[in-house]
Structure formats: C-alpha cells, structure tokens
Amino acid sequence: MVTRPILPLRLSGAVARRKGKTIVGPVDLDLGPTGCTIVMGPNGAGKTTLLRLMHGLERLADGTIDWQIPDVEAREAQAYVFQTPVMMRRSVLDNVAFPLTLHGVHRKEARDRAADWLVRVGLEAAADRQATVLSGGERQKLALARALIREPQILFLDEPCASLDGRATRDIEAILQAARADGTRLVMATHDMGQARRLADEVLFIHHGRLHDSGPAPSFFGSAPTPEARAFLRGDILE
C-alpha cells in the first residue's frame, strides 16, 4: 500500500483526443487532498473522459497530469468505480478480495478482509453468490467495496447511482460519506443535481470538453458564474 500522499493533483493543459478529435481539454485544474468534487455537465460533455484521464485510463494527448509521487506508484493509491460495474465471474466475496490478492495478500487474509467490507456495504448475505446475478444496486455496492478495500487515497466514481432507485442511492451515498470521513478523496461525475448538492464540497462544470466553472459547491449552486452553468442548473437543455 502507498503511504506517501499522492495529492494534490495538478492538471496543466491536459487534453484527451480520439481519432484526432479533442474530447476533453485543455483543462487546468488542482485537486486538493480532501473532500468531494462533483463533475457536472450535460451528456457527452466529457465528464467520464476527464475522470478516465485523471485515473490514467485515457491517454493524455497533450499537457501534464502531476501527482505528488511518480505515476506508477500513484496508481496504486487510486481506485475507480465504473458506471456499469465490471462483475468478475466469481463469487461476491472473491470479487472484493481480488485487489488484495493481486498485491500478494494471502488468500485467507484477503477473504477475511473482504468479508468485513461486505458487512460494511450490507452484502454479507450475498458473499457466496455469483457476482453476475446481483441487482444493479448490489453490483455498485460490490464495486465500491472492491474499490475501497485497498484504502485508496482518491476514488473516482462515474455516475455510480445512474439507474438506481432512491433506496440504493441512499445506501451508496452513505458508503461514500463514510469513505470521505475515513479520508478518501472523492471525485464523482453525476447528473443528479440533488446528489451533487448533498455530497459536493467542490463542483467542476464541464461543457463541450472544456472546464467552464469550478469552485466551492455553495457558491456554484448559489450563483454559477457562466451562462452555461446557470442554464444547466435551471434544467435547460444545453446544445
């Protein structure tokens, strides 16, 4: 486990391109060591790509992304929860234990720690079930447990509550609040305005791949500085 702090994170002129077309950027951004940053914006704005870029899943076409320690080490202290969680074809318990076994933790110890995490996320009754038969909410809980078991310093979440009902969303948010209280930095893309208001310490508003607004949540929701952000907050359709 990486003990040296990897945050703050600094993006300078970061650009992601696909087939020559700029999807995101250039983005200049500083992410501090604590709190919850919500990335907002309309569909296709580049929220997911920005998250993937920061996590290293997307190739950086231009600019720099600097962690406080070398990228290879910093990667060990990050985790990512996908909008559609990947369920490995094994039991729920073994899914959660998997990241630990990758890093040489003995299988029994990894399973014991995974069992603890299943209790925390309320999936202990499903420990021996195959992960692929879980419901949408249970899948996201599993993905969160699998991401948090290595105690990452930063957790990226790509619309983790999309298509979940209210109860499942509340459970997921409780897990995220607990993770934040334990010191995990959260960076989450979401469409859900209510969720953003409940969780955000800071908001990034992205449109057409460009960072339009960024700042503390109260001032963003109170008086967003750009017309695009204000229109988005009113619920207008942005072109």
Binding site: E76, Y80, M88, R89, F98
Partner: protein
C-alpha cells in the same frame, strides 16, 4: 441396415464380455488423446489469453495464422512427424517412431492451434469485459492472463473438449507415426480402419460405436465434475 444392426450387437457383445483387446485399445486411445489434450491445453489456453491481452506488431497475422492452422491436414502432420522421428531424421536418435509418444506428439501439433484459437475467441470477449477494471487495478500482464484463464475456466473447458473430440477421432496422423501395431500402438480409430480394410464391417462398426460412446462418456463426466450448467455457474 443389416450390417449396422450386426455392428450394434457385436459392440454390445464386446462390451458385455469385457473383451480384452477392446479394453486395451480403448485405454490406449484415451491415454494418447487425453495426454495430447492436456499438453495442448497447457500450451493453447494461455496462448489464446496472451493473444487477447497483448498488442504487438503482426498480431492480426498471428491470429489469422493460428486460425488457419486449425485446419492442418492430419496426414501431412503425420508425415512431417514421421520424417522428424524416423531413424534418419533429426530426432531419430530418440527412438520414438511407432510408439504412443509419437502419436501424442502428432496430436499435440494438430490440437494446439484448435484449442488456442477457441481459447482466443473466449478470452477476447472476456478481455473486452474486464479491460477497464484490470487496467484500473494496475495489474501486470501475467496477472491479467491468470484472471482471464481462471474466470473463463468453464468456457475454456469447451476448447479442451473440442480438442478431445478432434483427437479421439483422429486417424491419419497416428496411423503414420504409430504404425497401428497390435498391442503397441493400435487405437480405436486405427483398428476401425484395419477392420474395414479386411471387410469385417460388423467389428469395425462395433468399434465405431464404442468410440462414440467413449467420447460421449468423457464429455459427460467432465461436464458433471466441473458442474457446468448448474445454478448460477457458467
């Protein structure tokens, strides 16, 4: 029709009386094919996963070649292995020609591309599903291949069973390198070829029915032991 009926009766008689020759050649068939499938699986399954995970120059050509090798003519493989193992060949000193080992070598050459190719198809689909997660978890290539092979093990069983199906019914290569020697290299398929040549159609058919029954039994036992198609499993 009469010959088929006679063949079925003869097959029943051979099995009920536990005919010693039948048991010997059946066991040899199993020994040769199962050994070849195990070796081919040990090579082909990881090779399929490697080709799914690793991006390299000429990868597409390598996959196309592997797929093409699925159709290797057994007789040609047998001939090449024969020349390599014959007394004047480069491996003649090993004295393997006309032994079960030579038959296993020929079958490994035939089965490996088949198993690797089917494995690659399975692993490619799984890699598409697992890609982001395994990259996000900062896994090494070795860890990725291991995860894919482990989680895809039931699907990969199909690849090995396809190899078994081809191996147990193979005759051209093992006839050339084994020589169909009684009590030494005779197996079910070469015995069928021999009996057909002699005009003993009932015996040949009987052996054919035993061969089919053997292939079905092995598939059934493996599916039962690996608990495929059970509940939540794949």
């Amino acid at each position: 029709m009469n010959e088929i009926l006679q063949g079925m009766i003869e097959a029943g008689r051979l099995i009920v009386t536990l005919d010693s020759d039948l048991i010997e050649i059946s066991l040899r068939s199993l020994q040769v094919t199962v050994t070849a499938v195990l070796i081919s699986s040990a090579i082909g399954l990881p090779l399929g996963a490697f080709l799914a995970v690793k991006r390299f120059r000429h990868r597409r050509a390598a996959i196309a070649t592997l797929n093409a090798l699925m159709g290797l003519p057994p007789v040609v493989v047998g001939l090449v292995v024969y020349l390599l193992l014959s007394r004047s060949g480069p491996f003649g000193v090993l004295g393997l020609l006309f032994t079960p080992s030579a038959m296993i070598i020929a079958q490994v050459i035939i089965l490996t591309p088949l198993i690797a190719s089917i494995s690659h198809q399975t692993m490619r689909d799984m890699w598409a599903e697992y890609h982001d997660l395994l990259i996000s978890l900062n896994t090494t290539r070795h860890q990725r291949i291991r995860a894919l092979l482990w989680d895809g093990r039931r699907a990969l069983l199909t690849a090995s069973l396809a190899g078994f199906g081809r191996g147990i019914g193979e005759v051209g290569a093992i006839m050339i390198v084994g020589g169909n020697i009684d009590h030494a290299t005779r197996v079910l398929t070469t015995a069928i070829a021999l009996e057909t040549g002699k005009g003993e159609f009932a015996v040949a058919l009987a052996l054919g029915f035993v061969l089919i029954a053997l292939a079905l039994a092995v598939n059934w036992v493996i599916h039962t032991l690996s608990r495929t198609e059970v509940g939540e499993r794949w």
